[in-house]
């Protein structure tokens, strides 16, 4: 197992490098650059200023040299400094990652708990009214983009019935309180989570239906076990194996989704930071975000594979 994890970690290094190379060169093809975003061409002696600033930021060097410098810094544990503010990218990331993790974690938790529970009920009561209702909601959820659902939630739960605030992570100017934080979290987490809930529910339903008809489930009933034990221990344990794959594959999508949701709800996480960085062509910040999300995706893939061997004793890595 340890050798397997080490091997996977080694393999992920070239993958991460590849991702940064591609993003670095593609991002450089965006029209304009950080300096043009900062200095208006109307400014007197604009041309000289722009040239000077480009020189300071190293933007006048060939691309491969710029990438090389970024990589060299990275190896020393430094992600560079924001072109806009001069702050250390690592500090910016560290300040904002908790907010994003809170949003994504809550959304994922909503999706897993609700999705798996609804999927199990739907399957156990196949073709019942509950099943049809959940199926309808599921298809609706899968078809609605999360940003649109976000706006619907804002309209319903913030404007029609003003229950929740629509932006920020807490009320400005007030001391931090958990309740206030959670109220701010409600709408973005729901918007991000409900769409995934629908996906998890459909997969869980299918998987449970498949497992339910297995001989070993009949054996479990023939033993005289309670229905609860039959469902939780014998059906769910097996049915969750394919669902874990889907959950693992959802994490990257959740990263993408959180960028848009953070923007709609002005959630001060790294997604919102990323949008700002792209607009300002702030490439050190862009690269910092990309590197962090790539590491997270790699880690989630590895965790998914670990989860398999935990759930299914037939799967062993060595």
């Amino acid at each position: 197992m340890t050798t397997y994890i080490l091997r996977r970690l080694l393999v992920s290094i070239p993958i991460l490098l590849g991702i940064t190379v591609i993003v670095f060169f593609v991002a450089s093809k965006m029209p304009g650059d950080a300096v043009l975003a900062m200095i208006s061409t109307e400014t007197p002696q604009a041309e000289d200023l722009i040239k000077l600033r480009r020189g300071q930021l190293g933007l006048d060097l060939p691309l491969y040299v710029q990438y090389g410098r970024w990589l060299w810094q990275l190896l020393q544990g430094n992600l560079g400094y924001s072109f806009q503010t001069g702050e250390s990218v690592i500090d910016i990331l560290l300040a904002r990652i908790p907010a994003t993790l809170q949003l994504m974690g809550t959304a994922l938790l909503i999706a897993i708990v609700l999705g798996v529970a609804m999927g199990v009920v739907s399957a156990l009561k196949q073709y019942s009214r509950t099943d049809y209702t959940f199926t309808f909601l599921g298809f609706a959820g899968i078809s609605i983009p999360d940003f649109f659902l976000g706006m619907v939630l804002v309209y319903l739960l913030a404007i029609q019935w003003p229950l929740f605030p629509t932006s920020g992570i807490s009320t400005a100017g007030e001391p931090y309180s958990l309740v206030d934080n959670l109220r701010h979290l409600a709408l973005p987490a729901l918007a991000l989570g409900l769409v995934r809930t629908a996906t998890f529910m459909r997969y869980t339903r299918t998987s449970v239906l498949e497992v339910m008809n297995n001989d070993y489930v009949r054996t479990a009933r023939a033993k005289g076990l309670s229905e609860w034990l039959v469902v939780v221990r014998h059906i769910l344990r097996n049915a969750l194996i394919p669902v874990v794959t889907v959950i693992g594959l959802t994490l990257p999508v959740l990263f993408g989704g959180s960028v848009i949701i953070e923007m709609i709800f002005q959630w001060p996480g790294i997604g919102l930071m990323f949008i700002g960085a792209v607009t300002a062509r702030d490439s050190p910040v862009i690269m910092g975000y990309v590197l962090f999300s790539a590491v997270m995706v790699q880690a989630s893939n590895l965790l998914t594979d670990m989860a398999y061997s935990f759930l299914d004793p037939r799967i062993r890595y060595d």
């Binding site: 073709y127 297995n214 001989d215 070993y216 009949r218 054996t219 479990a220 009933r221 023939a222 033993k223 005289g224 076990l225 309670s226 034990l229 221990r233 014998h234 344990r237 097996n238 194996i241 759930l311 299914d312 004793p313 037939r314």
Partner: protein, 334 residues
């Protein structure tokens, strides 16, 4: 002394896509404490559904037990609450299934799967349940039972897994064991071992056994009586020797003829009964076997014959049973 099990007029149907499948159509039989019987018949004859109905393991939808009584230890199982029935399943009546490769849960250890029933029914603690499970495993001849409790099903062979299923089924000391084709999925060499194992344990533990099989030859040596099922009916029921010596029903005759002979008298060709089993979505009002029966006369195609009691525990459902028996004097078809 009342019988251990008394089944009367059991009716089970399945509802599927607008059609009604008449799987079991009024089956009656009884079994004494410690006795053993076989229910034989081809696929779709209703033998498995009959025993699944005894355990009330027919799932609704699509299946439903629609009539009859199942008196077990003087209680009608069909009238018990689900909770009361649960206390009987795996405890007083246990079951082993056809395919040992799929009957055990692949992601749970053997120990867990064996102890969960013991803990539910006998109220044993973790320790005591594991000891009992290991004891049962050694009873069915599995080497190093204590160490193997933590292994998973995929670490055992097919024959070993069926032994584990048997150990699991017998762990709560049931009064009745239902063996639903327990050897079908196994190698021929292992089949006989499993039959002998169950027979030996039956004598040792004094439980009754119902064998479900489509192989008359395999179970002949270990049962007291045989019920032959066709189209959801018992068409003949008889003490085992009587069935072999004096088969009364044309279908039983056909089944006996279909057993391969070792002396080459069948000249390399196996006997088979022409035709197809009846469509149970539209069960005939007449004798279900009539379309395939070489003795059928008009009467057979008009009305279902009653189950005639012939005395000495023998009964047959055929209009021409006497004539059929006379035409096939003892041993002639062997």
């Amino acid at each position: 002394m009342p019988s251990l099990l008394e089944v009367r007029d059991l009716v089970t149907r399945f509802y599927s896509e607008g059609a009604v499948i008449h799987a079991v159509n009024g089956v009656s039989f009884s079994l004494d404490t410690g006795a053993s019987m076989a229910i034989v018949g081809e696929s779709g004859s209703g033998k498995s559904v009959t025993v699944m109905s005894l355990m009330r393991l027919v799932r609704f939808p699509p299946g439903r037990i629609e009539g009859g009584e199942v008196i077990f230890e003087e209680r009608d199982l069909l009238r018990l609450s689900e909770e009361e029935m649960r206390r009987i399943r795996g405890n007083r009546i246990a079951m082993i299934f056809q395919d040992p490769m799929t009957s055990l849960n692949p992601v749970l250890s053997i120990g867990l799967q064996m102890t969960e029933g013991l803990r539910a029914h006998l109220g044993l603690g973790e320790r005591a349940a594991r000891d009992r499970a290991a004891e049962m495993l050694s009873l069915v001849g599995l080497p190093r039972p204590k160490e193997r409790l933590d292994d998973y099903p995929h670490q055992f062979s097919g024959g070993q897994r069926q032994r584990i299923m048997i150990a699991l089924a017998l762990s709560c000391n049931p009064a009745l064991l239902i063996a639903d084709e327990p050897t079908t999925a196994l190698d021929v060499t292992v089949q006989a071992q499993i039959v002998e194992l169950i027979q030996g344990l039956r004598e040792k533990l004094g439980m009754a056994v119902i064998w479900i099989s489509h192989n008359l030859g395999l179970v002949a040596g270990v049962v007291d009586k045989v019920a032959v099922m066709y189209g959801g009916h018992i068409v003949e029921q008889s003490p085992v020797d009587e069935l072999y010596e004096h088969p009364r029903h044309p279908y039983t005759l056909g089944l006996l003829k279909a057993i391969p002979k070792m002396d080459g008298r069948d000249q390399g060709r196996l006997f088979s009964i022409d035709g197809m089993p009846p469509d149970l979505r539209r069960p005939p009002e007449s004798c279900p076997f009539a379309p395939r029966c070489i003795y059928a006369v008009d009467r057979c195609r008009q009305a279902l014959p009653p189950l005639d009691e012939l005395g000495a525990g023998q009964s047959v459902r055929c209009w021409r049973a006497d004539e059929v028996a006379a035409l096939n004097v003892a041993g002639a078809m062997r």
